[in-house]
Amino acid sequence: MTAAANGKTTTIRAIDNNFVAQNVTVQAGTNVQWSNRGRNDHDVVPVDATGAAAWGVSLKDFQPGATYSHVFTTPGSYVYICTIHGSIVNGKGVGMVGLITVTT
């Protein structure tokens, strides 16, 4: 089940080296915008490989000051990391990791 864009936007700051807020819950159809507000390079990479093809932003396109947006239309839990400063270790987030929970 997917939802159309609902016109709402939620912002996540990528600072050094944290996503703020780290856990975000949005309704399906919400536009999530990441803003690199740190001094360092970061990226936004979904842990799920299939999702990686659909959303995320590379280091090159997410330098300090840059923004990236994606509309989440399908309910579910979306874990993502900055590949330089975070990882998933044994199913747990370590370092620069974020979670978006998309509800109906």
Partner: protein, 489 residues
């Protein structure tokens, strides 16, 4: 299956402590490139770099492994073709011994209490070839020691610990890296010693986002970086001692800012360092390094620091500069001083209030005592604010006949005594600083660096037992530290 995986990760993520709960099995993600190049012959002698004020003993690196350390030892490449394979196979407490060679790897470490050691600091070389991100990255694993090796040409960091309790980096060389040379973030109970770091646009050595950090930086040399040392929002039993910071854009730069968590920077103790000639215009440099250029010790927006018995000379601007940091695009409001000593963990739970405009982090309540300063061309001691500098609570004593802005700073603001005089006599115009134009950054990949000289080896690399970082930092008697001599050219 995909849905199950995501759900598992989400649950794990939601429950995880980001800093201390990593288990000992390897990461499921294979981000490390694992191509091993040819071995090269170990050198048989090691020269040492001059480290003023520090006893440096030339130690011949061992090239044979008999008798070896007892216990669980994994040899690279004899037993495992890559460092990453050895790390992934190691159990907590193991020692990984790396033979001389060039290793094109980005090693991730997620197992507690490992000791990862090169047999020869100068010929065990991790080379990122300007493509890989971190030479060694320790992710949430407690007590990992990394020692006696070189990392070069990494796009991010040479050696990187994040979210750990207990870390030790020793006899490490970081040379030409895209962010930091040696980098400890969101980590506590650590020690970085006998490090040589050159060629980073940010800091050669960095400890950030921790309070209390319970960490020691001791006997390092940091040169030709944007910043020699940087510590954003760190402090609390954090010592920077017995080290050399030279030929950077700026030398020692503790700093506050809401671009990381756990603000402000506070309670860093800086004692017994030689800090000189940090005016280097041909380094790579982030914006902050450009702004801080020409200063020796500059706690920009730092509070409650102790700066004592350092030798600081030959700077175009200030020797010790207590100046504000203007954050144009802050992520939170200034913390109330009553929260300055709140632990990092607790401060992360505070709600964030994004200000409508810039905020100014003043440098406050720092103690500057017994330093030897000369030939700092704007002033040996420079104190400034956009507000009333007399109210900031910094104090100064026994710094010799140092020149200062404002004039007679030791009479205006003595330590543990009442000051007198005119704060407007020699008031420094800090606003003009912001409009200055500095030489631009140089690409870190191509910046001209001094040729990498052989660095001091750790003693007994082949035979010393594993020593995970479970008993760090070292105990330091600050009273024993004297003002270091000038280095011999």
């Amino acid at each position: 299956m995909k849905r199950y995986l995501i759900a598992l990760l989400a649950v794990g993520f939601a429950l995880a402590s980001c800093s201390s709960d990593a288990k000992s099995s390897p990461a499921s993600e294979g981000s490390a490139a694992t191509v091993v190049a040819t071995s090269v012959a170990a050198s048989t002698t090691a020269a040492t770099t001059t480290m003023p004020g520090v006893s440096t003993t030339s130690v011949a690196p061992a090239t044979t492994v008999r008798p070896g350390p007892v216990g669980d030892v994994l040899n690279v490449p004899a037993d495992y073709p890559t460092i990453q394979k050895a790390v992934d196979s190691a159990k907590p407490g193991a020692l990984i011994l790396i033979s001389p060679g060039t290793y094109h790897e980005a090693v991730n470490v997620t197992t507690d209490n490992l000791t990862i050691r090169g047999l020869d600091r100068n010929t065990v070389i991790l080379d990122g070839q300007l493509k890989l991100d971190n030479g060694v990255r320790v992710l949430g694993a407690k007590g990992v020691t990394v020692e006696n090796m070189t990392a070069t040409n990494y796009t991010s960091n040479g050696f990187f610990w994040t979210g750990v309790t207990g870390y030790h980096g020793s006899y490490l060389t970081a040379y030409r890296t895209g962010d930091y040379g040696v980098y400890a973030f969101d980590s506590s109970k650590g020690q970085l010693d006998h490090v040589y770091a050159a060629g980073s646009p940010d800091a050669g050595v960095y400890i950030g986002e921790c309070f209390p950090c319970d960490a020691v930086i001791d006997r390092i040399v940091s040169e030709h970086n944007g910043l020699g040392y940087s510590g954003t929002n760190s402090g609390g039993n954090l010592l920077v001692i017995n080290s050399v910071f030279r030929f950077n854009r700026a030398g020692i730069v503790p700093n506050s800012g809401s671009y990381e968590l756990c603000y402000p920077e506070r309670q860093t103790t800086i004692v017994g360092n030689v800090v000189y000639s940090n005016n280097q215009a041909d380094t790579p440099a982030i914006d902050v390094a450009l702004l801080a250029m020409g200063n020796g010790i500059i706690p920009a927006g730092g509070v409650l620091n102790v700066i004592e018995r350092n030798r600081v000379y030959d700077h175009d601007k200030g020797g010790i500069s207590l100046v504000p940091f203007l954050e144009n695009d802050p992520n939170d409001a200034l913390p109330d001083p009553s929260t300055w000593t709140t632990s990092c963990a607790e401060s992360k739970t505070r709600p964030v209030t994004e200000p409508a405009g810039p905020i100014l982090w003043d440098s406050q309540q720092n103690r500057v005592i017994g330093n030897v300063l000369e030939n700092n061309r704007v002033a040996d001691i420079l104190v400034a604010s956009l507000g009333d500098v007399s109210t900031l609570g910094n104090c100064f004593a026994d710094n010799g006949a140092a020149s200062s802005f404002p004039k007679n700073i030791e009479k205006l603001a003595p330590c543990d005594a009442k000051g007198s005089g005119d704060w407007n006599d020699g008031k420094y115009d800090i606003a003009s600083w912001l409009s200055e134009v500095h030489p631009p950054s140089v690409d870190w990949q191509t910046a001209t660096l001094p040729p990498l000289q052989p660095q001091e080896q750790m003693p007994d690399a082949a035979t010393a037992p594993a020593h995970p970082a479970t008993n760090v930092p070292e105990v330091v008697n600050l009273d024993d530290i004297k003002v270091p001599d000038k280095p011999v050219s």
